[in-house]
């Protein structure tokens, strides 16, 4: 019985391996969206990233071009062990060719390594740690939307230059928070500012009052929030309760998403300044996308993460078509070779270290009176050109980059 089963499995494996000669393994390109579907990052990524990936597949016209593409998704619950297990299962047993999105830098760094070991493809949209294109860079990974260096460079610079020269950090205690704090601190120190203190809180904290009191006692001019999602909104909401802004201190939300502003309400969020690489109301193309997207995503307008998932999938499919194959390492190499062009980020490139290059925007949240229609939340204060928005190639210590 057992032998029969083993033989059957071997036969299936042989049959499955057969079409490999036809370049697209098993005839289907399978995209796995792996993210937080149920926790504090579920609105800013979550099901929206799945919708975005599906829209990209449709807009690319994959079916008309004879490509069979399937999009699947799973919930990693912000746990690196759960995420790794799903990634392994997807690659080994379910023939997933590309893993997409993956918020939470802790999980993303784990999936980054697994993808490399298995020779598959990984496009990061949510995770922020700049280590993904630095120390941990991989020939199988593209880091699409943004990273902690870009946030630090955009927001940190702007804040220090407008007089915010003493900082206190409230930092989420995991890979992402540490990376963001490190990158912002470097910018602050470089510009002659100083860091008066920092405190690290566990991921998904409800009550920030204690940390806010410490920040208040530090007398720092700027309180840098090196966290994301529900952690950021709770901190800002409770900060207004404790009179942080009235007392003359300001918040620097180092990573704030459109959905966070929506959750806070303009009343509490007004005046916040931070860095984004996409805003739905930038131009006609982004507005058209946002309209279609919101219809399919409970009215929630796209965050930059959703935009990254869409654009990344589009470019991946382009590379697969050009290559006529879906071997992970080769596709990623092809993606780096081809210039990118999509309706959301415009024209851009992908560098040798896996970093996707496009402009970033310094945005300010509007006052309630300035908001004319639903989801009209941002004023664009400055555009950071693509070549300045991300860490220079030679400063990341990425082993893939040959130093001159």
């Amino acid at each position: 019985m057992l032998i029969a089963r083993v033989l059957t499995l071997a036969l299936i494996a042989l049959l499955a391996a057969g079409p490999a000669s036809a370049q697209i393994s098993d005839g289907i390109i399978k995209i796995g969206v792996l993210n937080d579907q149920s926790g504090l990052y579920a609105d800013l990524a979550g099901q929206g990233s799945v919708v975005a990936a599906r829209m990209a597949v449709e807009d690319y016209g994959a079916a008309a071009k004879g490509l069979k593409v399937e999009v699947v998704f799973a919930d990693h619950q912000n746990k690196a062990d759960v995420g790794s297990q799903i990634a392994r299962q997807w690659y080994d047993a379910e023939k997933v060719d590309l893993i997409l999105d993956v918020p939470n830098s802790g999980v993303a760094l784990a999936v980054n390594q697994i993808t490399r070991d298995k020779g598959k493809a990984f496009i990061v949209s949510s995770a922020a740690s700049s280590d993904l294109t630095g120390k941990a860079c991989s020939p199988n990974t593209v880091h699409w939307t943004y990273d902690t260096w870009a946030l630090a460079n955009g927001t940190g610079n702007a804040v220090v230059k407008t007089g915010g020269d003493s900082w206190f950090f409230i930092t989420a205690d995991y890979a992402f928070g540490h990376a963001l704090e490190r990158d912002v601190e470097a910018v602050v120190l470089k510009n002659g500012g100083k860091v008066l203190g920092k405190v690290r809180h566990p991921l998904n904290t409800q009550d920030f009052s204690s940390f806010l009191l410490q920040a208040q006692a530090s007398k720092a001019k700027v309180i840098g929030l090196a966290n994301a999602g529900g952690d950021t909104t709770n901190a800002i909401k409770q900060g207004s309760e404790f009179g942080i802004v009235k007392g003359g201190q300001t918040f620097a939300g180092l990573l704030v998403f459109l959905t966070d502003v929506h959750a806070l309400g303009l009343d509490k969020a007004q005046g916040l300044t931070f860095t984004e690489t996409f805003y739905w109301d930038l131009n006609d193309k982004t507005r058209a996308f946002a309209k279609r997207f919101a219809e399919r995503n409970r009215g929630i307008h796209p965050t930059m993460i959703h935009a990254g998932a869409y654009a990344g999938t589009l470019h991946y499919l382009k590379a697969v078509e050009a290559l006529k194959g879906d071997d992970g390492t080769k596709v990623i190499a092809k993606m780096k070779e081809l210039a990118t062009d999509d309706p959301l980020f415009g024209k851009g490139t992908i560098r040798a270290d896996g970093r996707k290059i496009h402009p970033a925007y310094l945005v300010e949240v509007k006052k309630p009176a300035e908001s004319k229609y639903p989801w009209d939340y941002y004023k664009i204060r400055a555009t950071i050109p693509a070549e300045q928005a991300f860490r220079p190639l030679d400063q990341g210590d990425c082993p893939l980059v040959v130093k001159k």
Binding site: L40, R200, E241, G243
Partner: protein, 267 residues
């Protein structure tokens, strides 16, 4: 660490302890009198906050009305749950009630998350309680002061009703020996149903209190329920005063942890 900052943390601890106390009080009442380990407590707390949000958005009723309406509405939902599902489980092992309420909690949270997303909905502090006072060693928001006072009053009133009044003595007697109490002409099943409704109402009340501080979020209860269970167990399962005292104590301990070793401050 300057003493001034320590006072601040002590006060913050008391404020958070107020939530723990109020939530664990409801749990304790339900366990003490019904022998049900109510794992849906976190979800019911969350529903309380949502009812407050709905009151404001749909009907235009503010915070003060919500304090009254939310416990009643959610309490009634609790009574429905007790009548239809919990009742058949009384003669079975604790485990069955635990599993049932845990499942119910997951379903409720899933439904709310599906409808309202995970990043929460905004809910403001009532105008009468906005602002705060500078106490010298810290800035105390008026709303937080209100939370401490209000929940202390509710906790002590509940303790008084159950431990010191005739109604309370019926309740306690009914858990000791339901058959005998029924023989005296008291409708024990109805009393038990109402007690469950009351416990659930306490959770909803805590939810309304929490709405202006935290986001109104489908997962707000799931995050808190573990801490609250720890409080109930430390305070002695079913002991009402134990829960109140432990709730406040744990809040203070947590507050100090956030200063001395913040990474460990989460359950």
């Amino acid at each position: 660490m300057p003493t001034q900052a320590l006072f601040g943390q002590l006060l913050i601890g008391l404020i958070n302890g107020a939530f723990y106390a109020l939530l664990s009080l409801g749990l304790s009442v339900i366990f003490g009198l019904l022998n049900i380990i109510n794992f849906a407590h976190g979800a019911q707390y969350m529903m309380g906050a949502f009812v407050a949000y709905f009151c404001l958005q749909w009907v235009g009723l503010g915070y003060w009305w919500s304090l009254l309406i939310a416990p009643v509405v959610v309490g009634l939902a609790g009574i429905l749950l007790e009548r239809t599902m919990l009742k058949p489980l009384y003669h079975l092992d604790h485990l069955y009630g635990l599993l049932l309420t845990f499942g119910v909690a997951l379903i409720i949270q899933g439904v709310f998350r599906n409808a309202y997303g995970s990043s929460g909905l905004p809910y403001g502090i009532p105008a009468q309680l906005s602002g705060g006072h500078n106490l010298g060693f810290m800035f105390l928001p008026n709303y937080r002061a209100w939370v401490v006072v209000f929940s202390l009053v509710v906790c002590l009133a509940t303790w008084y009703v159950i431990e010191r009044t005739k109604l309370g003595s019926y309740l306690r007697a009914a858990t000791e020996n339901p058959a005998l109490v029924q023989a005296f002409g008291i409708n024990v099943p109805r009393m038990i149903t109402l007690t469950y409704g009351f416990g659930v109402g306490l959770a909803a009340l805590a939810g309304v209190l929490a709405a202006p501080i935290y986001q109104v979020n489908p997962l707000m209860g799931a995050d808190l329920i573990i801490v609250v269970f720890a409080v109930v167990v430390i305070g002695g399962l079913g002991s009402i005063m134990g829960s109140i005292v432990t709730g406040f104590t744990l809040g203070v301990v947590e507050g100090f942890t956030k200063v001395f070793y913040p990474e460990a401050s989460s359950s």
